[in-house]
Amino acid sequence: MTSVTSHSGKAHAGGTPALPAPGFLSRPAPASVAEGARHAQAVATLSPIKWFGVSGALGALAFVTFVACLGFGTETISFANVATLLAQGPFAEGEIQNAPHYIILWQVRIPRVLLAFMVGGSLAAVGASLQALLRNPLADPYVIGISSGAALGAAVAVLFGIGLSMFGLSVLPFYAFLGALVALLIVYRIAVSYGSFSIHTLLLGGVVLNAIFSALILFLTTLADPYKASGMYAWLMGSLTGPDFSTVLILAVYLFLGVAVLISQASALNLLTLGEEAARSLGVEVERVKRVLFAAAALLTGSVVAFSGLIGFVGLIVPHAVRLVFGADHRLLLIASGMVGGIFLMLADTLARTLLSPTEIPVGVVTALVGGPVFLYLLVRQRRSIVA
């Protein structure tokens, strides 16, 4: 790298007289990279310290929220009591294991609040990834029809009873995964075919896709016997009711895998927000990265929908809020959205359990009532900023 002088322009062949250089060009630039390094602290970027700091702090906040949510429900358990019972561990011996509060805490509340955390976190991480992939800050697995694709996959499996279990494990998530993958490929096709930046085409496509999948699910339920059908309706509204520990553990494996894959592609996601062409020009193997992201997003959405039905807008509002606080870098955005999404759904589910206790509101209703208006607000603001 040669040093910059204001005379160099005159050396050019072809008789071009040097034009007076603009101010910043005539200023001698640092002669070497080493000298540039002295200014390097001015280039603010994400450091591992910040990453671990933020993730750790949000993790701690999630744990506090988790413990706090355990006390609430039809039967209120005091915080001191929650702490004592937690300290006993899941395999307590003697009298305490038959105490009602111990049973409620370990067999009902803990699996449920854990499920809420994992489902919320996964939906938020998927939302953030889809937004980058589709270059659209309003993308959400529920709004653009990925979740209903997964629901259709699961509904087909349930209503026709195809291979519901294999080696004693439910294969419902697998069918939901297939449904989510098909929906994702269709939505991606719609988003790309109208150029790089058509927010409204994507949303309209998603709405129509949602309508088609919902119609197919309703059609299938009318074929099913009424008992199965009413269970289907409850599940479709989004519910975190009644998981047992083994369900939560299986789900944890799927979800951990999916989120880890998404985070491993965070730098590529940053570049994909520039569009496929620009990402490729910066060295991203776009086709390979897309395949990995599609698979991970479908795995997460499929698993979540198979266990807890349709819960919307978590993937929209959580990444949006996190971006406002921590910026757009997906290395931090994904993990932070995961934590905040988990916290958000634990709170929303606690609200759903306690508001009309002993009746439960489906948690999908709570998230839609909170998230829907936020979505509309963002849509209007988005439109204004594009027109301006």
């Binding site: 250089a21 990279v33 620009a278 490729r280 060295g283 757009a328």
Partner: protein
């Protein structure tokens, strides 16, 4: 010895041999191609301007060089290697691409945008990866070269078109490329910023021996700032040569299908194009 004459002895960055490209499926693509049997060698250290009417295949040719698009027929060599034998990241370490317009829906800062240029240099076996101090130093250098260092903390969504375009060129420089490809770098800029970008490109070429290939609609800017021009018409090369050879009345009238007046720029003496009344 100046950087310029040193680089002239180096290997040709690009050799394009009988390339045919069309959009869509292979059969239809070859029947109505956007580029037809285009052959071209780009010399190390030159500024090559690609000109032509709308739809003549200018941007397509540039994207083929970057391997954003892959031709159905013919071959492209990058520094003597067949294009398809080189990994995308390896191409990105030697060639940088500045697109016509950069739209960004997400609130990245200017320094985050420029640091994206370091992506092809990262060694990612696992995980998202962190920038090294070298990455930050290179990015800082690129930002001060383009005069956007003071904007590092600003959001890309909140700066002017000229500042955004400079940030994107800084990102390209952060790739530490040997070749810079620009797709109408001044298309959306006012006169002041057009001149500024043109001078920056000229300077990078002169001082660092950076090979530059730029697509432009602006015949006069190209005439002023390019060593060599390539005129495309309906996917074929209509003329190639120095600005004096290419910016000539009859070839322009044939290619653009409209009458033009060619005289001399009062300062530089280079050909200048105006439209008759």
């Amino acid at each position: 010895m100046s950087a310029r004459s040193e680089t002239l002895n180096r290997q040709s960055p690009f050799v394009v041999d009988a390339v045919t490209f069309g959009f869509g499926r292979k059969e239809t693509a070859v029947q109505s191609p956007v580029l037809k049997h285009v052959s071209l060698a780009i010399a190390s250290g030159e500024v090559l301007g690609i000109l032509g009417p709308n739809g003549s295949g200018k941007s397509t040719l540039l994207k083929i060089l970057m391997r954003i698009l892959v031709p159905q027929q013919g071959r492209v060599e990058l520094f003597g290697q067949p294009h398809d034998a080189v990994a995308q990241a390896e191409i990105a370490r030697r060639v940088a691409f500045v697109p016509q317009e950069t739209q960004q829906a997400f609130p990245f800062t200017i320094s985050e945008m420029v640091l994206m240029g370091r992506y092809p240099h990262h060694n990612r076996t696992w995980g998202p990866g962190w920038e090294s101090s070298e990455d930050r130093a290179v990015a800082m250098q690129a930002m001060s070269d383009l005069g956007v260092a003071h904007l590092g903390g600003r959001l890309i969504t909140n700066v002017s078109g000229g500042e955004r375009q400079r940030a994107v060129i800084a990102r390209a420089l952060a790739q530490e490329p040997e070749v810079l490809l620009l797709d109408e770098p001044t298309a959306f800029l006012d006169l002041h910023h057009q001149l500024e970008i043109a001078r920056i490109i000229r300077r990078l070429n002169q001082e660092r021996g950076l090979t530059v290939v730029l697509v432009s609609h602006d015949l006069n800017l190209a005439s002023q700032y390019c060593d060599r021009l390539l005129l495309l018409r309906e996917g074929e090369i209509a003329a190639v040569g120095s600005p004096e050879e290419v910016i000539a009345g009859e070839s322009l009238e044939r290619v653009y299908d409209c009458p033009v007046l060619v005289d001399r720029h009062p300062q530089s003496g280079m050909p200048r194009v105006t439209l008759p009344v």
